[in-house]
Amino acid sequence: MIKNESLLKIKDLTIHYVTEDGRVRAVEDMSITIGKGETLGLVGETGAGKTTTALGIMQLVPNPPGKIISGEIIFEGENLIGKSPAELRKIRGNKISMIFQDPMTSLNPVMTVGDQIAEVIKLHQKVSGGEAVIKAQEMLDTVGIPMERYKEYPHQFSGGMRQRVVIAIALACNPKLLIADEPTTALDVTIQAQVLNLMKKLKEEYETSMIMITHDLGIVAEICDKVAIMYAGNVVEYTDAESLFLSPKHPYTIGLFNSIPNIEEDVEALEPIKGLMPDPTNLPNGCSFHPRCPRATAACSERQPKSIEVAEGHFVFCLLYEHQLQLGGILDDQKID
């Protein structure tokens, strides 16, 4: 694993939504690091807190009801939490930019796509209006859309093209960090392949670090260097992609793998994780996964697991390993089923 200089360091980030129905602990005590040029995959099922984490980094958590309770977000050595709105605006869209999940709704329907790209350029670069337009046209070209379509509106574009426009907006100012929130979930496979290809290419070209939010382990395998698996607001496993795929540790991660129909080989029946996602306002005590965990013990309902480094750079949040660690050091990779 390449030990790069870190670009973004999240420490003990906790974000809650306070709603009528109660307090949603969307992100709890999260700590991750992204190095320069690195791609981190943030994986989890619906409601795991992936988008909230991203919005937290952007300092765009809707408030109310959202609130950053604690933690630090160190970007290029400076904590983003506590920065003034004006300072944050200089960073957003410029050094950190974000691609949202749904290309159909994340573009302003009454502005031409070109203007939407030019807008971000004008905001962050000292260029004239005309130059911004030229740059925007170049960006369109970069993402594979003919420049002549500058003056067209989002509704005249297909989903894949819109997502390209969104990518163009995100990359227009050559950001240091790109957060992509499920950028291809809404797209068809063939289009997804196009878009992923494009992203990979551009990421390399621009040397951008990236947080790739997804629930598709296939995408993770394809483009991520590191992976953080989230469950109900908590990171449950955090490691580099290779160790994750070769030796997943956390029972949830393993369950996730077993739930996916395997395209390479035939299996008679899948082995799904039993049960359902917990009520976000009323998470179980102890490890929030324990009611669904096949290996849960009594202790799991009492104590919250801490981060265990089971191998170098491979962190698991599970009492199982804490236990084993106490018993006698790190165990070899073992398949839990």
Partner: protein, 309 residues
């Protein structure tokens, strides 16, 4: 776009025909003999009979309607007023500018008050400003026009003596009626602006704009407002139409001689040609305002523009 407008204009014809038929029928099933009303209770019967004959009121209903449509279509003539003997179109054109002015001023008042209030309310949801302007807006819709007019006269004309209580020719005379007429629409526009803005502000593309590092005021005024404008424009259009036809009460309180009052007077005088002409005229204006609103949509929203082709 031109084709679309043309098609819409053509579609107005059956609607107008329907309007005229409904009005004609309504007028004819309404009890009361126009001739008798016109001549008064002291006129002898022979005179009334003679007048009925002159007006063609003794013919069967459908023949009268046919004549009306024929004159309208072939000669563009809506007949003459039973009372003033003036051509109906002239009678209406004399009054219409007044009502148009009144309604326009009312709408201007409403828009100037309503849109900013609505925007601020939406951007500071649940703030004191939001709450007060929402209560004010509610009071605005809750106050009956005619009562509000009376109270305004009582305050500004009688107690303070600042503004005249009637007429509509000088700007001073226009203030109270415009205010009376405008406030309820202002209230409606405020509420519409607020809810529409709230809806838009939640959209993903607003988040995108913020993620670009855009200043909040631009996010609100450029990204959000233009998207929120469609329902607001609809309401403004509807309100304008409503004010045109519904200025009756304001007109009577301030003794303004507009189409609204002309209509009410003509209905009670059974001045059929004027009622028909007037309602047709108002309905036409209303429909054209609606058409203009629809055309405006196209300028506000390219998605709609592409549908009009």
């Amino acid at each position: 776009m031109h084709k679309y407008i043309l098609r819409r204009l053509l579609m107005l014809m059956p609607v107008m025909l329907g309007v005229s038929f409904i009005v004609f029928t309504m007028m004819h099933i309404t009890p009361g003999d126009p001739a008798r009303i016109m001549l008064g209770e002291s006129a002898p019967l022979e005179e009334v009979e003679k007048f009925r004959e002159e007006l063609g009121l003794n013919d069967p209903f459908l023949i009268q309607y046919g004549r009306f449509v024929k004159n309208l279509v072939i000669h563009q003539d809506m007949g003459r007023s039973y009372t003033s003997k003036r051509p109906v179109i002239e009678e209406i054109l004399i009054r219409f500018p007044t009502t148009l002015k009144l309604a326009t001023l009312g709408i201007v008042v409403a828009v100037l008050l309503g849109i900013p209030a609505g925007i601020i309310s939406a951007t500071r949801q649940y703030s004191i400003f939001d709450n007060t302007s929402m209560v004010a807006a509610l009071l605005g819709v809750s106050m009956p026009n005619f009562w509000q007019g009376l109270m305004l006269i009582l305050l500004f004309s009688v107690k303070l003596g600042w503004l005249p209580s009637s007429g509509f020719s000088s700007w001073k005379e226009m203030i109270l009626p415009a205010l009376t007429l405008g406030t309820s629409s202002a209230a409606i526009i405020t509420r519409m602006t607020r809810s529409s803005m709230l809806e838009v502000i939640r959209q993903d593309y607003i988040r995108t704009a913020r993620a670009k590092g855009q200043v909040e005021s631009v996010v609100v005024n450029r990204h959000a407002l233009k998207n929120a404008l469609i329902p607001i424009v609809t309401v403004i259009g509807l309100q304008f139409g409503y004010l045109l036809g519904g200025a009756v009460l304001t007109e009577s309180i301030f003794s303004i001689s507009g189409v609204g009052r002309l209509m009410v007077e003509s209905i009670s005088a059974r001045n059929f040609p004027v009622v028909q002409g007037g309602v047709l005229f108002i309905a036409l204006t209303f429909s054209i305002v609606n058409l203009l609103v629809d055309i405006l949509y196209a300028f506000l929203d390219p998605r709609i523009k592409s549908q009009y082709k």
